[in-house]
Amino acid sequence: MSENIACSHCHLEFNPSVMIHEGEHYFCCNGCQGVFHLLNEEGLNSFYEKAGNVTLNPPTQQYEDSSNFNSPAFYERFVKINKDGFSEVALIIEGIHCSACVWLNEKALHKMDGVIEANINFTNNKAVIAWADDIVKLSNIIDMIRAIGYNAYPYDASLQEAHANKERKEYYLRMAVAIFASMNIMWIAVAQYAGYFSGITQDIKTILNIAEGILATPVLFYSGWIFYRGAYYGIRNRTINMDTLVATGSSLTYLYSIYITLAQRGEAYFDSVSMIITFVLVGKFLEVLSKKSAADTLDVITKHIPSEVNIVKDSRIVACKLNDVCVGDIVVVATGERVLLDGEIIKGSGSFDESNLTGESDPIYKQLGDSVISGTTSIDADVHFRATKDFQHSTLSNLVALLESAINKKPKIQLMANKLSEYFSSVILSFAFLTFLFWYLSAHDFETSFMVAISVIIIACPCALALATPVATLVGLSLGASRGILFKEAAHLETMAKIDTLVLDKTGTITIGKPKVYQEHIYSEFDKRILYSLVKSSNHPVACGIAEYILQESKDDDSILFDTFKQIPACGIEATLKEKKILGGNLKLMKQNSIYIDFVSDNTLFYYAIDEKVVAIYELSDKMKEGAKEIVARLSSKGITTIMLTGDNEHTAKKVALAVGIENFLYEQTPQEKSDFITKLHEEGKRVVMVGDGVNDILALSCADIGIAMGNGSDVAVEVGDVVLLNDSLKSLEDAFKISQTTYTLIKQNIYISLFYNALTIPLAMSGFVIPLVAAISMSVSSLLVVGNSMRIRLQWNKK
């Protein structure tokens, strides 16, 4: 055996005997060879130097025809005209591994005539490409990307994600200005306060005031613009919100300080203006930072649906656009492919995985005349079926449409801080007004009364209140993330703390979701490698379970080539090796080969026979996840009702529910029924968490108050879920509850701290005892208290 050699393009290592040899170069496949020559011709071969030893994906995939990208419908949806009049599209490039890949894609596109700009973001693999449409077409650009071994698909950049990024950027800009100005104002304020105690001439004071005023102006009108905007919308909707308070408070203080500066007496409060704006802006930014959008979720779902299917036309198999398939067309589904249309089998037979739709973990065997449902996947079936519905009316597109409406109708529990700030703002504003009236009427001059009223607003200004929720949730979010629990939005923490009903899916949530070998009965010695090679060639879940079990035991994954090999649908596998007949499968297969065996078990059984003699029996069952029973018991002791929903039959459902200790369970639930059930719970006034992992759960996940997805579940479920448990364990489900409850307690504490501070200082301010120094210090102290209190979440967790 000679040593393996790395392919000159993709750097994957292979035995030289199977590689394409060309001069000093070796290639693993034609695809790599093609790309290598293309790069050399285009003068881009410095790519290999830049990429170093990074291994790439060999470009062997076949893609659908790129002329799709030139269709008017596609252009209308994805292609924009930019301000220079060029066409522009946003793409996601697949297969980018390193910065050299980014370099290669950009340079290759730059070399094309008519491409004006190609800018690829390495962090998220998104590209913006601008081109002159009369010189090249989008399909040429896509072809180029594919030719150099990558793939690209479009995404709609006008979606909310792009919108959110823009909003975030706007906040960065405003915060940069606010922080810069506030820091400068602070050091000027040090001089002011020192002068307040040790004496300062009015001239110097005016100079400092003017400097502060200049710095405070952009903070109020640029950074603080957000609050003016918020206050304006609030007034239009006839509500007084936090923005109203911040906007009026800071503008009044600003105007008053300008008057003081010009009149050259008294104390100016420019430092308070910029501090308030900066603090509240940071609080707001923290909220904006953690928001997810529904629209992007849908985009991911539709991306998973291929746009073409194979149909039989004039006794030839041709590719056809999904939307062009008519009722009555004959659709071809090969092994491992997804069924995209509903229909009736007219040729062939095999097993289908329907767990996407039903949650049933066992594959279902279908033959001539049976109906196939869109959204299911063929495991070993190679069939032709006649479409009974077009794509618009198929089960799959119904599911997508339902999901769309469910995501838009997601319930939102009003958050505590928002509710509170409404009352708070109106109370403070009326207090300030009353203070002014009282002072003015009790024979003080206008200036004094106005100053006292303003000090009420300044001291009450909700810096601490604005930080109370965001800081606590941020600490909660990072605590969750470090434990593999991703809360997609900060608000979910608060919502989850108010939950009273927990709905669990069975397969993949309570149980592992795949059959595992539970017990092995060996009747006579045999070569395990043969059995391993036999089961490895099938992707039936039972076979996979056994393959995994043997691999765990022997750690030897050499395969043996059989002389003959045949998969028998719904039965098992039949093979011959050196004149020996090898059978592996279920009881039906044994009976067909007239092997009779007496073995009774509740579990799924796999028989392995050599020369018509059973040598081993494997018992398989879907195992419960670790600690399932204890965790369910602990959660229900906290007053959370637990309900199990499953698409499986009554027998299996009952067995699992009993084992875990769940009293309420529903079986044979379709995705629609699951989500209806959750809507019903909502109508009863319950707040529901749904935990699931499969495509059959996504409707329910999206209509629950909080949908929790298992990280190993389908991509779509992970996308739809509000919380993702990365390590799939029920322990982290419990942790998620704990984190959300701890965070919620802290939010409440923070709000009490800031309200207590206000209750203490507002009467002082109303009676005119507050000097500027006290106002500034107390404002910072209360904010620090709130931030420090939030950090306690970590301490509490470390103690446990």
Binding site: N121, F122, T123
Partner: protein
């Protein structure tokens, strides 16, 4: 005299700070911080070829802009 010195120093330092701030704002707006990885890797790929490529790209854009008339 004292007052004048303080005013001037305040003015000068705020002005210098503001220049830096505007440079920073320009960089944010320009998207220079959008992609932290590329930003850091750019140093690796800096060379004559890159400059030539950038100039070519700009020239191409200018030429096309002159001739290009979107309907």
């Amino acid at each position: 005299m004292d007052n004048w010195v303080i005013a001037m120093m305040l003015g000068a330092s705020i002005f210098l700070g503001a220049v830096a701030l505007f440079a920073f704002l320009w960089a944010i707006k320009n998207g220079q911080f959008d992609d932290e990885e590329k930003f850091l890797n750019a140093a690796k790929f800096d060379g004559q070829d890159e400059l030539n490529d950038a100039i070519n790209q700009e020239r191409k854009k200018k030429e096309l802009k002159r001739n290009y008339k979107p309907e």
